[in-house]
């Protein structure tokens, strides 16, 4: 009786394992929905506040959302118009300045992509993604 139960449990586990293995093989090249961000590349609203005037806020949301409202003094830099907006950002950047990039919320990916391009393509140091994005900033400031 007991061995039969164990055998049945093993069969069920094997049945469950088959689709799991299949998915792992089939989706092995799939890029995750959100590019991974190292904890050291994230900054909270409170941490960014302590940087005072030594931080450049970068708004990675689409133009219309930036036009509607944004962190005071923030610059718009999104991938829709990267080539046009990047020189405007670089015109105010200077060595020693920290950069805090945000998008709408915790689930959005635009800030991660903009931060990645600033680090990799422009080779800027101290570029951070704001944890929780614009929603987190609003909670702390409105």
């Amino acid at each position: 009786m007991r061995s039969s139960l164990v055998r049945q449990v093993l069969i069920l586990l094997a049945l469950a394992l088959a689709p799991g293995v299949g998915e792992a093989v089939y989706f092995r090249h799939r890029i995750s929905w959100q590019s991974a961000v190292l904890p050291s590349e994230l900054v909270t609203v409170d941490q960014a506040r302590t940087w005072g005037g030594n931080v450049i806020w970068v708004d990675a949301r689409p133009d219309e959302e930036f036009a509607s409202d944004h962190v005071p003094g923030a610059l718009s830099l999104n991938e829709d118009q990267w080539n046009e907006l990047l020189p405007q950002f670089l015109a105010v950047w200077s060595p020693g300045k920290k950069v805090a990039v945000y998008c709408s919320s915790l689930s959005c990916n635009a800030s991660r992509e903009v931060a990645r391009r600033l680090r990799r393509e422009a080779q800027l140091p101290d570029v951070f993604v704001l944890e929780g994005g614009w929603e987190a900033w609003l909670k702390k400031n409105r």
């Binding site: 799939r30 829709d80 118009q81 422009a122």
Partner: protein
Amino acid sequence: MKTPIVAFALSIIISLSARAELKWEQTTVELHPTAADKQAVGHFKYQNPGKTPVHFKSVHASCGCTTAQTQKDEVPPGGSGEITATFNIGDRTGTQVKTVTVETDEATNQKTVLTLRTIIPQQLEINPTFVFWKQGEKPDPKAITVKVGKDFTVKHIKVTSSSPDFQTKVEEKGNGEFKIDVQPQETKNLIASTLTIQPEDSQKVFYATARITNSPVVQ
């Protein structure tokens, strides 16, 4: 029945699959737009093999750069159609993965995630896209590397500086690689220049920035 647990599990699996109504031809589409394309459009075809109509409750794209449209709100039994997802490429580069979440009133599988994978061809890869000198720093040349994308052939590139205060010199390294030396005439003034990089026989223009910055802020 010797294995009642297995039979029970199998019957649940079979009954669940029988209840699923909207069948998608594919939930992942890979697109390969040309370098000149401004948009990439993916078509996700579906069919309703069930016996009751299926209604779309919502269709939601993962980012503002993607829009998704249904042809109709209701799919009758035996009916078919497609959801069209349009990805605005903008100035994005590389592989872009965007999703569209479709919510229906089906008994099971109410949410389906459709994935649009767009591989944007990159004619030139420029690294870095920004070179700078601190005010008062020795005005030595700084290098920008330009690599030609694997599906492209570029024999020459033309580099133009928007400011005469910065000189540029292009060196062909071979194997689809170029080196641009950028040098300011002096670093006393806070000046900047946009460097326009254009492959020969191409309308596509790439950019880099050169700038004299003020000195670091002392904390």
